[in-house]
Symmetry: C2
Subunit: 232 residues, 2 copies
Amino acid sequence: DHIVVCGWNATARDLIDELRGDEFDARIVVLHESERSPAPADIYFVRGDTTSTEDLERAGIPDAACAIICPSEGSNEADMRSILTVLAIESIAPGVRTVVEVNNRKHAEHVRRANADEILVTSRLASRLLARTALYPGLAALVTDIVSGGEGSELYGVELPEAYVDLDIDGLSARMRRDHGATLLAVTHDGHTLANPPSDFRLRRGDTAVVVAEHLAGLHPLEPDHVLDAPG
Amino acid sequence: DHIVVCGWNATARDLIDELRGDEFDARIVVLHESERSPAPADIYFVRGDTTSTEDLERAGIPDAACAIICPSEGSNEADMRSILTVLAIESIAPGVRTVVEVNNRKHAEHVRRANADEILVTSRLASRLLARTALYPGLAALVTDIVSGGEGSELYGVELPEAYVDLDIDGLSARMRRDHGATLLAVTHDGHTLANPPSDFRLRRGDTAVVVAEHLAGLHPLEPDHVLDAPG
Ligand SMILES: [Ca+2]
Ligand SMILES: [Ca+2]
């Protein structure tokens, strides 16, 4: 049930800090080719090749909850290595959630075909945010704030109580705020996330939500088949 | 009233696509040291040093609405050059909005002291999002979607009608949806953005909002002193 960080770059460095500070205390293993660990001393380090089945097994991939794959440089070759890493992990342990940082947006489709579970094209997110910020001041700071839990708030994915089924979007929004002090950002239905649901929207059984809140409080995080172990 | 992109990297490349496809048809100038333009042929290119007053003037900085500064590589040195670029721009044309992509989060404070108007620490945003995605599936895709205008929606900063003053957050949320088909993400008061306003919140005159919507429709984008020219 640990998290394996495959590869090392600025994102991985910041990621370790985030994961250590997070409300879920996941154990972290770093798998990277360098001779010495690039991570802080208390993080378990395995020297190895992220595309090698054997090295992935040494890092405990079969028992991991999640593998986060970071390209070690900004090149296309680094994306190719990430694809090989995903293929290796998904072939030996398909149940592991593979989360991949991609350099070049053109490679996202290939990463998806390799069966990665989640893909983040950092330059696409950054460029989009810079473009919107050029037009509308403050958007970069706001999005960073929401994602970073600025002002003491955090982004959460949550299950919704049975009692909320059939609520319309205004009703759901008001209930989330009143019952849980949470701001509703989006509803996920059948794996499809709606940031701006149509006016005839009604909550269905099994829909989940993305919220900004100070803490989970009475809300339930996504079910175990979706998510890592909750704090024990 | 044009946008000057200072420096070149993967973010800048994607940024040009975003800005060209955007609802505001801003003219774009790329200022970079390479011999040939790294940008598409129809983008105005000035070969030069982004830290040089003379070259910045050749790129039309004094008349620009906004300068977006991208580090040409992932190094600390590249951040230092960005700081020199901001200092140069803010000294010859403080009215220009300087938006800076920063490599290393430790440099953000220095960039702020150089008077940059907006700062995006890409690795911080990416790492934070990957960390949250490791815990809550789907968050990376959701945030990319919101920022990217996935599902036909876009992120907007907007002024609020006089009639909304004194509304509480549920009231405001419902009105934004009913009157404008827009989902309220946050309210900005006195330059301070609240993604999760307290329950005693009341909208004040001059507050602005960040919303996700298909188009601006009846909403007004942020006033000219905050934003680039609206589409003509
Ligand atoms: Ca998997
Ligand atoms: Ca300025």
